[in-house]
Amino acid sequence: MTGIRSLERPVAVAPVAEAAKGRVLSLRWVVRLLSLGLVAAAWQVLTTVDARIGVNFDRLPSPSEVVQEFAQQLATSVYYLDLAQSVIRIVTGFGLAALAGIGLGVLVARSQWAADLLLPPLEAVRPIPAIALVPIAILIFPGDEQGIVFITTAAAFFPIFVSTRHAVRALPTLWEDAVRTLGGKRRHVLWHVVLPGALPGIFGGLSVGMGVAWICVISAEMISGELGIGYRTWHAYTVVDYPAVLVGMASIGVLGWLTSAAVELLGRRLTRWLPRAEGSLRWASR
């Protein structure tokens, strides 16, 4: 049978080549860690000698001070409450944005009526940066909490919505025709073709949406929060506690990275069927 033979795996890669590949990988990790270490060492030196070399390091806390502050904060319950509060806001805001963005994106891509009805108001609001909606949020929501979640949702909604709409519109008609001639109705086309086929594009929007959701939740917390990692970081700045500011910044970075990685991982699992270019395989192997 033609083609079947071509599927057979090639003879196992020589163990020598595998070992060499492993050594190169280990060496690359050493280089990466060394690079991080060098930056930290330079930072330590510049802050210890209070360098003023066009950029002032005399008021910047040193890495050791930041580590010390971080250790202290880890022993307090407030730190975890702040983290939990920010995560709850992100999960709620991003979750609502994902539901609305995917749902409406599919709807306007598939229905001309829905597009005529929904696109004008959405396109009118889209150019306004979500953080500029803070005054509106304060006016229309009775509490800070709803306002922060609203800003987060508004920020994440548009990248998800736009990506979903484009992904659905770009689907080849062949898949839909195939399912329809197999007896599929509108709901089957939606479930078996539109949603899985648009997933790569949807996940592109979810990744961008997660990034902007963090920007907005932190900004909103800095403006009007009473808890949360953004609020705590800004509070530390106002009381001139710079090591705590850097601990806040690092915590925001770690949370942002973890949530983006979760979206990325889920996306990769759900789109395993996509052909991976050699380049992306190299990334995946890291």
């Binding site: 049978m1 195939a178 399912v179 001639t181």
Partner: protein
């Protein structure tokens, strides 16, 4: 069992530009009809009309004497580009029409595996379409089309993109599996030899309209094109 397909002065086209006009054609139940024509003669448009993917702007299309205006599982289509859903494994692609029909999981799995075996792909059930060669993907498409026992199979140059050897294998396989189903087949091709090999009857779509070629030979078909 095969179904009869009839076009009564039917016209098909895209966005106001007619491709097929006032066409009368009958495909008998269980018949293997091959439509031959040059590129742009409207072969694929005609097939999409028979599938219900295009609604006639004039005339009628009937299945067993009943007019229709949309696609149905009774008239399954095999496309030149394979049309397999790339995120579904071979097994899940073949199961799809049965799942759409609401068949129980165990029964649809058994039937899908039976058809995968019949098209010679046992052992490849869990592969994704991108892991298969062009010929293997067309085998999967054939299994997916026939697993739900449609009354008519509409094939749009299904082997057009295959190499000569794979094409010959697929033609042999097609005749083998179709012989057991009794389905009506409308097969579109631009390859005269393929038409002569497979057809019970050949219709040539020429610029002047469709012509049924009685006692077809290579020369007679080329004359009509």
């Amino acid at each position: 069992m095969g179904i009869a397909l009839t076009l009564e002065r039917a016209g098909f086209g895209y966005a106001g530009s007619p491709v097929i006009r006032e066409l009368d054609l009958t495909v008998e139940a269980g018949e293997f009809l091959v439509i031959v024509g040059a590129s742009g003669s409207g072969k694929s448009t005609l097939l999409r009309g028979l599938a219900g993917l295009l609604v006639p702007y004039e005339g009628k299309v009937l299945a067993d004497g009943t007019p229709f205006d949309g696609p149905s599982a009774e008239r399954a289509m095999v496309f030149q580009e394979d049309g397999l859903l790339p995120w579904r494994s071979v097994r899940r692609n073949v199961e799809l029409p049965l799942k759409i029909r609401g068949e129980a999981r165990s029964s649809r799995r058994a039937r899908a595996e039976e058809w995968i075996e019949r098209v010679g792909l046992a052992g490849f059930e869990d592969r994704l379409p991108r892991e298969l060669s062009g010929g293997m993907r067309q085998r999967v498409q054939l299994a997916r089309t026939l697993v739900a026992a449609p009354g008519a199979v509409l094939m749009d140059e299904p082997f057009g993109a295959l190499d000569v050897q794979t094409r010959a294998e697929m033609q042999r396989l097609l005749r083998e599996v179709l012989a057991t189903t009794g389905a009506t087949v409308v097969f579109v091709t631009h390859d005269v030899d393929e038409a002569l090999l497979l057809a019970d009857r050949i219709v040539v779509l020429s610029r002047t309209g469709p012509k049924i070629v009685s006692r077809p030979t290579r020369e007679r078909i080329l004359e009509e094109l």
